[in-house]
Amino acid sequence: MVVEHSFPTVTASPWSVSMRDVTVRYANGVVALKSVSLDIRPGEMVSVVGLSGSGKSSLIRSINGLVPITSGSLRVGGFQLETARAGELRRLRGEIGMIFQGFNLAKRTSVLNNVLVGRLAHTTTLRTLLGAYRASDRQIAFEALDRVGILSKVWDRASSLSGGQQQRVAIARALCQEPRLVLADEPVASLDPPTAHEVMGDLRRINQDLGITVVTNLHLIDLARSYGTRIIGLRAGEVVFDGPVDSASDSVFSEIYGRSVESADVLGL
């Protein structure tokens, strides 16, 4: 007899990202990314670092098409983003989990309903409108909540949770997608230091236990060094460093930041 495992088993293979001369220019003329080229291999855990305004969010949002690229070539999984149509873009996003600095939960509804947002790409519009999610989708949501240790909060209102718990719900929402890639934009910038470490630990486990590719924007040096294996440094929209964490010394960070490293650049603890 086969013993049932409580974790969702990863059957889908993780995705890679390939950028060639990607430029992002916003409508107001600001050029957020200047001819960026980089490759992220399947199953990697990458930290993107840089000062505020260096283009970290623009980089991570271009990967799931929330920010359209102005020129260049961007390949994610099997999708070519510069030519992807609306339907293709939704299918792409369905395979990519995203975690935000501000958690981005629907505050007035239950934790379960928030996690089920992760099933939208796999649910018909009619089912969504009626709120009639399939039992199998609800099962996936319960398992995702269990994985981040807050299954006990499943029926609570999202707004009644603490910041750390809300970010866990957001991680469960991403996991509920059964993603091949997880993008996290400053996931711990709104959290206190101990909670920040717990959430970063969750992300690392997603990468190590499930083998999912994880790309995280961070501005704190010690977090970038302790979680993940590779650091990409952005400065004024350009990649100024790309290498394994061991090679990212303090002098490398002062190069990325364009100034000497300060105490505010580390979380401590």
Binding site: N64, L66, R90, R91, L92, R93, G94, E95, I96, G97, M98, F100, G102, F103, N104, L105, A106, K107, R108, T109, N113, L116, V117, G118, L120, A121, T123, T125, T128, L129, G131, A170, R173, Q177, R259
Partner: protein, 275 residues
């Protein structure tokens, strides 16, 4: 803040200050427009005509009416019941229909829940037209079209309500945090799914609030609509008014007051459970 610290406090000379968009003349224009409109309103040629001496001339007449109003004719009550029930039915039915129609329209008129500019403008323009026509005018036109009775009243109330609910709810959508919707988009949902799963829960309290408010408005409005033949207490009000039965009129007003107060208690109870 800059590390080089080349700027001198109190001067803008060394600062690379970007030019202010629009400029200062915009706010002066706004002040000017308000002043001009006020002047026109008060001017003798184009302004509104009103005089206080009319009140002084007719006060005796008015005092008599007020005395009559103070003594309601209680025996009239049984005859008011069917009309009162009809008014309540009109108000409730119109509120339900209007709420059902308003919810999708609210989502269609807010930028966050309908990023498509063209369709948003069309729905907005239609609603502006709907809102600009007074409920009494709707009722008068509809009575001419479908005949005397509760139906034209209900349709008039629905049109009147949709204008109110959609405006208020779509404004509350715009004021909401767009974060949850962004998460829905990032998860691969289409706009309908995103609206249902991430926007709806957050706008529900505002939607229910507006619906309760409209129900209260409808009880009052539906008693006026009868004046033009659109059913309810208004028909009765018209009848007693033409016979100068102010004692009966005051009973009707008292009944409306009771209903409005009861609704107020009810909606407060509902609101308390919402927040």
């Amino acid at each position: 803040m800059s590390a080089t610290g080349s700027s001198v406090a109190g001067t803008t000379a060394g600062l690379d200050l970007p030019t202010r968009p629009g400029g200062r003349w915009k706010s002066w224009c706004a002040v000017g427009v308000v002043v001009i409109i006020t002047a026109i309103t008060l001017s003798p040629q184009w302004g509104i005509a009103f005089s206080l001496d009319a009140i002084a001339r007719n006060w005796q007449n008015g005092a008599e009416k007020i005395l009559q109003l103070l003594v309601p004719d209680w025996s009239f009550f049984p005859r008011t019941v069917p009309a009162l029930v009809e008014t309540l039915q009109m108000a409730v039915i119109a509120t339900f229909v209007a709420a059902g129609v308003s919810l999708p329209l609210s989502l269609a008129t807010a930028r966050l829940t309908n990023p498509n500019g063209a369709s948003r403008s069309i729905v907005r323009a239609l609603l502006n037209v709907v809102r600009s026509i007074p409920d009494l005018l709707y009722a008068a036109i509809l009575v001419a079209m479908v005949g005397v009775g509760a139906l034209p009243g209900i349709i008039a109330l629905v049109l009147f309500n949709v204008g109110i609910i959609v405006k208020m709810v779509s404004e509350s959508i715009e004021a909401n945090d767009p974060g949850a919707l962004e998460a829905g988009r990032a998860a691969g949902g289409n706009q309908l799914q995103i609206n249902r799963a991430t926007a709806l829960p957050d706008i529900m309290p505002s939607f229910i609030n507006q619906t309760l408010y409209v129900l209260e408005l409808n009880v009052r409005a539906s008693s006026v609509l009868g004046l033009v033949g659109a059913g309810g207490l208004g028909l009765l009000i018209d009848a007693v008014r033409t016979f100068y039965r102010y004692d009966q009129l005051s009973l009707i007003i008292l009944e409306i007051l009771m209903v409005v107060m009861a609704l107020d208690v009810l909606s407060n109870a509902v609101r308390r459970r919402l927040v």
